[in-house]
Symmetry: C2
Subunit: 340 residues, 2 copies
Amino acid sequence: MNLKQLSLMLDLSQTTVSRALNGYPEVSEETRRRVADAAKRHGYRPNPSARRLATGKAGMIGYVMPTGASVDIDPHFVEFLSGLGDYARAHDLDLVLSPADARDEETTYRRIVANKQVDAVYVSAPCHGDKRVALIHQLGMPFIVHGRSEGLDFDYPYLDIDNEAAFHEATRLLVQLGHKRVALINGDDTQTFAIFRERGVRRALAASGIALPPVLLRSVAMTEENGYRAARSLLEQSEAPTGIVCSSLIMALGVVRAVRDLKLTIPGDLSLIAHDDVFPWLKPENFSVPLSTTRSSIRAAGQRIAERLAARISGLETGARGEIWPVDLVVRGSIAGAPV
Amino acid sequence: MNLKQLSLMLDLSQTTVSRALNGYPEVSEETRRRVADAAKRHGYRPNPSARRLATGKAGMIGYVMPTGASVDIDPHFVEFLSGLGDYARAHDLDLVLSPADARDEETTYRRIVANKQVDAVYVSAPCHGDKRVALIHQLGMPFIVHGRSEGLDFDYPYLDIDNEAAFHEATRLLVQLGHKRVALINGDDTQTFAIFRERGVRRALAASGIALPPVLLRSVAMTEENGYRAARSLLEQSEAPTGIVCSSLIMALGVVRAVRDLKLTIPGDLSLIAHDDVFPWLKPENFSVPLSTTRSSIRAAGQRIAERLAARISGLETGARGEIWPVDLVVRGSIAGAPV
DNA sequence: AAAAGCAGCCAAAGCGCTTTGGAAGACTTT
DNA sequence: AAAGTCTTCCAAAGCGCTTTGGCTGCTTTT
């Protein structure tokens, strides 16, 4: 069933039927109703390819997915997708993942813009002065950044959590508990979130005149193994930390294993706080010693980003609004006063 | 730059340019070269919307993504995506995720088929007599199932790993080590993979005249917490198992925690083997006691499925070929002879 | 030398929708 | 009663591509 058939059947022009269906004013209410009825009865659905060709609107939101043999997609991504999908479903938006060579995402961004394959894109895991953000801003396609990029000479819309405040709070709590040597096991420090987290830790320590020396800082890809290695090397040095703030639950698994291997205990010898993006399959309260966390649902972020992207597509949202979500600090058994 | 401009510039008709670019025979070699040169020089890329409208081919592969507040996307999905993306990138295929209400995926399947939004779809995590497989087969769109569905009255193309053989081997090894009470902590048993795994375990046990009583079988969503609960309840019963075969690494984390809570040891009191889909961020060799696994890269499966989907789209692959991959059994420290 | 075949090109007709630029009729205004 | 103003509809022109059905001029066959 296409427009032509439907209009023939109603004895109206395609113009009128199209307008009736798309809510244009120059159609009488009665006609509109007739058309709507017939469309529903016959299950008419406008062909998206045709509509896209005519309007340039795709009804899809895009994501350029870096790929490559040595590129690992962040496991958080699937939770984010769940949230995005939740919202997108309700608004008939599809999501198109355009795989790109991780070393050259620009070509792909240019392609999807030139081809108008999507109406908006979302950009994740930005780094300092992120090239992608600059590019897509310049190309003039609606977008939202999940996270933030610093060092760009323009404003842009984003959704981020308050990483700095979260890690500031976590660290401050450790300091208040008497910890003098607090280490940070961070994610890849080319990414902005890691920079903010480090900043939060430093600021909290500095407030009590404590420094964060390089020997107490690790910045690594967030795997269990790296968490283990980082913790082990931290704890084996002479001035071992008594508190660790850790950027992910998965790394925290490694930290716990290292602690156990070294015959230490949590929280007796080491207090541990990690950031939790809220996975359904790994929960901090279920760690052998329940893990204190800074918590923020990445799934909720996905929903919100979908919502804002939809708003930008329909012109309801414009400008460069940045949205920063507070992060919960959830205290559980993994922290205690510093050992004497 | 569109076809018209390009053809004007070359002083050729759109027909000829189009044909030259698409490798049709009725164009002289010289002309073809001229056209190809000009196209490359001016960075001409055919508009996909227009092409789609004209041909009905979308250049995309689809996935209907179940969503809903209580629906969790499998964390394996992102690894699978990595693999799919790897291949898709090299072949200019995009992937479109169509979010669907988990309780009504049919509508979405019908929509993407009716609209020709994608050239092929892939279906994951099939259950017995899977409705989606039946539907999409009937709708006549190319597809490949990742996994298998039993109880359908037609053949279809799929890629699966040999779950039954894998769990058969794992169990057989335990039996050979003298274990008489072997438990299975399985995934959701509405899914075919879980059925096959159970079958493998039963068959291996039966070969030595051992049964798998209901008290030694758990079938749960694959989270750390469920792994813990299952293991704990198994180990606390009077006739506790001395060996456990477990359907995922994440559940195995929970099993290990339960063992520790109960002051038992691996492999002294309990031998443990789990299935490993190969995550970059959690490796069985890094478990406190290195974990024996049945291993199969889900990422490789993603690549292969993309490859086969591409082949089906271009008509290179037809028919209902099922492909079953063998699974490696990797022995590490987590198994030993049964305690006496 | 006429007929046939072929290589190489083109004009034009779609694909199914949106949107522009009227036009007809009814209703007001002067 | 003539002129203007809405309201409601329509024909036709795109959007950028593919594909059908020729047409031309040249080579080969009979």
